[in-house]
C-alpha cells in the first residue's frame, strides 16, 4: 500500500514552524518510513501531485496568494492542521489589523522614515499578490480540523500529532508540551 502523503506550506509566517518541523531531527527518517512528502518547502515540490492525508499550515492569510494556497490545501488534504500562532490567530502580521489599510500602505511604501519613493506609487507589479484588507487566521477562510499551538509548537508536539494521526491513535501530549506560560 502506498504511504500516506503529507503536505506543508508557510503562508504569512516566518518559517519558524517549518524549522520546528525539521527539529524532529533524526526522527525525520522515521517519518519518511511513515509518509511521503508532497507539496512542501521541505522537498520543494511546488504543486500537489495528488491527494494528501495531512496538510500542515504555518502562517495566516495576508494576501491573495496565501488564500489561493490555503484553498488548494483544503481541496487536496483530508485533514488540515493550523500550526502555530500565526495560522491560529494571525500572529505578528495581524498587528496591522488595528490600522487602516491605507495608513499601513503609506507607512510601508510612502512615508516611512527609511522609504525613498519620490513618485509615491505603491508597488504594483502584476506578479505581486494583492494584500487583503486584514490578516485572517486560517480557520476564518477554510475549515481547519486541528490547531497546534505554540510559537513555534515544539518539534515533539508536531511529531506526536503526526504520528497519532497517521497511526490512528489518540495523541499523548505531556503537560510540558502544551504549557506556554
Amino acid at each position: 500500500m502506498a504511504k500516506p502523503k503529507v503536505a506543508t506550506a508557510s503562508l504569512a509566517g516566518c518559517f519558524g514552524c517549518h524549522m520546528s518541523i525539521l527539529d524532529i531531527d533524526e526522527r525525520i527518517l522515521q517519518l519518511i518510513e511513515l509518509v511521503d512528502f508532497d507539496k512542501s518547502p521541505v522537498d520543494d515540490i511546488k504543486e500537489f501531485t495528488g491527494r494528501c492525508a495531512v496538510g500542515l499550515i504555518e502562517g495566516g492569510c495576508c494576501n491573495e496568494e496565501n488564500v489561493r494556497v490555503l484553498k488548494d490545501f483544503r481541496k487536496h488534504c483530508d485533514i488540515l492542521i493550523s500550526v502555530g500562532e500565526c495560522a491560529i490567530c494571525g500572529g505578528i502580521p495581524a498587528m496591522r489589523n488595528t490600522i487602516p489599510l491605507k495608513e499601513c500602505m503609506d507607512e510601508a511604501y510612502r512615508n516611512g522614515p527609511s522609504v525613498y519613493n519620490p513618485t509615491g506609487v505603491y508597488p504594483n507589479d502584476p506578479a505581486l499578490p494583492l494584500v487583503l484588507n486584514k490578516v485572517y487566521p486560517c480557520h476564518e477562510v477554510v475549515k481547519i480540523d486541528y490547531h497546534l499551538q505554540g510559537c513555534p509548537p515544539p518539534a515533539d508536539t508536531i511529531w506526536q500529532a503526526l504520528v497519532a494521526l497517521l497511526t490512528n491513535k489518540p495523541m499523548d501530549l505531556p503537560y510540558e508540551l502544551i504549557k506556554y506560560d
Binding site: 491573495e64 488564500v67 489561493r68 484553498k71 504594483n124 476564518e140 475549515k143
Partner: protein
C-alpha cells in the same frame, strides 16, 4: 473653592465620607453636575480617602453613570425583544427624526440624549422608555414626536405624564403612567396583610423558631435558583460575626420580568415586613433594599413607606417594643447593570464597587456585605415569609406542589391577549397559563427569561415548578410569525452587553455564540455549525464564573433542543473550499481600489 469641589465635599460628607457608599455618592454627584467628570473623580477620591481608579472603576461600570456630559434629559429606549416586537423600531426612528440625531447621540444644544437600554421591566406595556426617571409606556411614532415637542417646550419629563396608572402608580409620590396589570390574585403575595401582624407573631417566637417555621414551610428562593430560604437563614445566623445583614434583591433585570415592580408598587409593606422578620431570625440590625436604577421612580414612595413603618414602631429601635431587636432598612439604588442581580455582584454594588461577582466560597451567608454574614433573598421570597409567619407554615406548604410549595408570580408578556402579573400555585401546567392569558396558539414560550428555557408546544403540558420548568417568573410568548432564531440573537446581544467581562468564557464565549447565530440567520451557516454551537454553549456554561455566563448559553441550547428543524432549514452545505463566512471579494476590494488593479487570481 470651586462650586464643584464644594458640592462634592458636601455630598461626600452626607455619606460620612464612607467609600462603601460610593454608589450613592457618584449618583448624587451626577444628579447635581450632570456627570462625574474627570475632575470630580479626583475630588471624590480625595474626599473619601481612596484612589481615583476606584471611583473611576465604579463610574465606568454602570450604564446609568457617565464621566462625559450628557443631555439634561436622557431618553433611554428599551431594547428588549418584546419592545421590538411591538414597534420599537419605528418609534426609535421617529425619535431620531424628531430630534435630528441618531441613537447614542446628544442634540447639539446639549438638551437631549437618546440611547438604548436593556429591559426596563415594562414588557407588559411595551414599547417603553425611561426619560430621566420618568417611565413612558405604550409608545408609538406619534407619541414619540409629541414627547420630543413637549420636552423641547417644558424641559421637564415629569410633565409627560398626563394620565396616571392604577393603584399606587397614581400616588402623589409616584405619579407614573405605569399600570400594575395584576390579572390573577392568589393567597400568598397578592393579598392584604395589616402592617405588623406577621412581624408581631414572629417576635413572639424565638429567632430559631422563626427559622424553623420557614424551614417547615419548605419555602424556596423566588429569584429562580430555588435555594431553601430557611436553610440560607440558618447558615447566616450560625456564621461568625456580630454584624449581620439582610439584603433584598430588587434588581429585577431578567428581560421579561416585572413582578417585583408590581410588588414594590402595591405590596411594599409586605416586603418590608418579611425583611424585618428575616432580620430578627438571623440576628441582623441592618437591611438593604437593592432597587434597580430603572425603578428609581418608585423610590420616594418606598422611602415614605419606610418612614411610616418607623413611625409606627415597625422599624428602628426596639421594633414593636421588642427589647434588643433594632432593625432598619436603607435603599440602595442600582445604576443599570443586569449582572448586579447575581447576589455576589449585588453585594459588590452595595459596597460601592463595580458589580463584579465574587468567588465562592466563602458564600454570602459566611462573608457577604463588607465581610459580614449576609442573607440575600428575592422580593417575592420576603413576601412569602411574611405570609408564612402570619398564616403558619402548614397552611403555606399545602399550597402548590410537593417540591415547590406556595404560589409564584408570573410576569407574562409578548403575543397574548392579557399581559400582566399572575399569581398561581406552583405546579400549574404551562398550557393552563397560556389559556388564561389568551395565547393557546403560542408557537414558542420563553420560560424564566433569557437565562431560562425556550420551549415549544411539545413542552406545554409540563408544569411550572422548580423540579420541572423552573422560572424566576418571566413568561414571554411568541406566536408563529416570530423568528425564534432572531429572538435568541436578541437575548445573546443582551448577554454580550451585560457580561461584566471578568472571566473569558463569558466575555468571549457569548460574542462567539452571537456571531455564529448571526451567520446562521444570514444564510452563512453550515450543518457543522450546529455541533459547534452546542459544544461552545456547553463550554461557556461549565467554565463561567457566575450565574450570568452559566445561564447565558441557555437560549442557544433550548433552540438546538426544541427548535432544531428551524435551524436545520437555515443552514446549508458549503459550496466550495471557502467557509460561507469568508468573502474573498470583500477581503480584496479595498486593496483593488487603493492600488488600482483587479485581482487576477480571484476574478470578480
Amino acid at each position: 473653592m470651586s462650586e464643584l469641589e464644594q458640592g462634592i465635599r458636601q455630598i461626600c460628607a452626607t455619606f460620612h465620607n464612607d467609600k462603601s457608599r460610593m454608589m450613592d455618592i457618584v449618583q448624587a454627584v451626577q444628579a447635581r453636575f450632570g456627570c462625574v467628570s474627570s475632575v470630580a473623580l479626583d475630588l471624590i477620591a480625595k474626599a473619601v480617602g481612596t484612589a481615583r481608579v476606584e471611583v473611576e472603576s465604579t463610574v465606568s461600570f454602570y450604564t446609568f453613570l457617565t464621566d462625559q456630559p450628557k443631555g439634561k434629559i436622557v431618553i433611554r429606549l428599551c431594547s428588549d425583544v418584546i419592545d421590538e416586537m411591538f414597534g420599537m423600531g419605528p418609534v426609535a426612528r421617529a425619535f431620531e427624526d424628531a430630534l435630528g440625531i441618531k441613537v447614542g447621540q446628544t442634540t447639539p444644544d446639549g438638551a437631549i440624549t437618546l440611547e438604548w437600554t436593556a429591559c426596563i421591566g415594562m414588557c407588559d406595556q411595551a414599547p417603553a422608555a425611561i426619560i430621566n426617571d420618568t417611565v413612558v409606556t405604550y409608545l408609538s411614532t406619534d407619541k414619540a414626536r409629541e414627547i420630543v415637542a413637549e420636552l423641547r417646550k417644558s424641559g421637564d419629563p415629569r410633565k409627560l405624564v398626563h394620565r396616571l396608572g392604577d393603584g399606587h402608580n397614581a400616588h402623589p409620590l409616584v405619579r407614573s403612567m405605569v399600570h400594575n396589570s395584576i390579572r390573577r390574585k392568589g393567597p400568598v403575595v397578592f393579598a392584604d396583610l395589616p402592617p405588623g401582624s406577621a412581624l408581631r407573631k414572629a417576635l413572639a417566637m424565638s429567632p430559631v423558631e422563626v427559622i424553623r417555621d420557614v424551614k417547615t414551610s419548605r419555602l424556596r428562593g423566588r429569584g429562580g435558583a430555588g435555594f431553601p430560604a430557611g436553610m440560607k437563614w440558618e447558615f447566616t445566623r450560625q456564621s461568625e460575626g456580630e454584624r449581620k445583614i439582610v439584603i433584598c434583591n430588587a434588581d429585577e433585570g431578567e428581560p421579561g420580568t416585572f413582578k417585583d415592580r408590581v410588588i414594590l408598587t402595591e405590596y411594599a409593606d409586605l416586603l418590608f415586613e418579611g425583611m424585618a422578620i428575616a432580620g430578627y431570625a438571623i440576628g441582623a440590625k441592618e437591611g438593604i433594599l437593592y432597587l434597580r436604577g430603572e425603578y428609581a421612580y418608585m423610590r420616594p414612595l418606598l422611602d415614605h413607606i419606610l418612614q411610616v413603618r418607623r413611625d409606627a414602631g415597625l422599624l428602628g429601635r426596639e421594633v414593636c417594643g421588642k427589647r434588643g431587636f433594632d432593625f432598619d432598612i436603607r435603599i440602595q439604588l442600582g445604576a443599570g447593570a443586569y449582572v448586579c442581580g447575581e447576589e455576589t455582584s449585588l453585594i459588590s454594588s452595595c459596597e460601592g464597587l463595580r458589580g463584579d461577582p465574587k468567588n465562592r466560597p466563602p458564600f454570602p451567608a459566611q462573608k457577604g456585605y463588607l465581610g459580614c454574614p449576609t442573607s440575600v433573598n428575592n422580593v417575592e421570597t420576603y413576601c412569602c415569609v411574611a405570609r408564612i409567619l402570619d398564616r403558619g407554615p402548614g397552611w403555606f406548604a399545602e399550597i402548590g406542589s410537593k417540591g415547590s410549595p406556595g404560589t409564584k408570580l408570573f410576569s407574562v408578556s409578548g403575543d397574548c391577549a392579557s399581559p400582566g402579573v399572575y399569581e398561581y400555585p406552583f405546579g400549574v401546567k404551562l398550557i393552563e397559563l397560556l389559556r388564561d392569558v389568551g395565547a393557546e396558539d403560542a408557537a414558542a414560550v420563553q420560560v424564566g427569561g433569557p437565562s431560562g428555557h425556550l420551549v415549544g408546544p411539545a413542552d406545554y403540558n409540563r408544569s411550572l415548578e422548580y423540579d420541572d420548568l423552573a422560572t424566576g417568573g418571566s413568561i414571554v410568548i411568541f406566536n408563529k410569525d416570530r423568528n425564534v432564531v432572531h429572538v435568541v440573537r436578541k437575548y445573546l446581544e443582551f448577554f454580550v452587553e451585560e457580561s461584566c467581562g471578568y472571566c473569558t468564557p463569558c466575555r468571549v464565549g457569548n460574542v462567539l455564540l452571537l456571531q455564529k447565530i448571526e451567520d446562521i440567520l444570514h444564510g452563512r451557516g453550515t450543518p457543522a455549525d450546529l455541533a459547534y454551537l452546542e459544544q461552545l454553549a456547553k463550554t461557556v456554561k461549565v467554565t463561567s464564573r457566575c450565574g450570568l455566563g452559566q445561564t447565558s448559553p441557555n437560549p442557544v441550547l433550548s433552540l438546538l433542543k426544541s427548535f432544531r428543524p428551524v435551524l436545520e432549514a437555515l443552514v446549508k452545505p458549503q459550496a466550495d473550499e471557502f467557509l460561507p463566512t469568508f468573502d474573498i471579494r470583500a477581503a480584496l476590494g479595498s486593496t483593488e481600489d487603493l492600488i488600482g488593479r483587479k485581482s487576477v487570481v480571484f476574478t470578480p
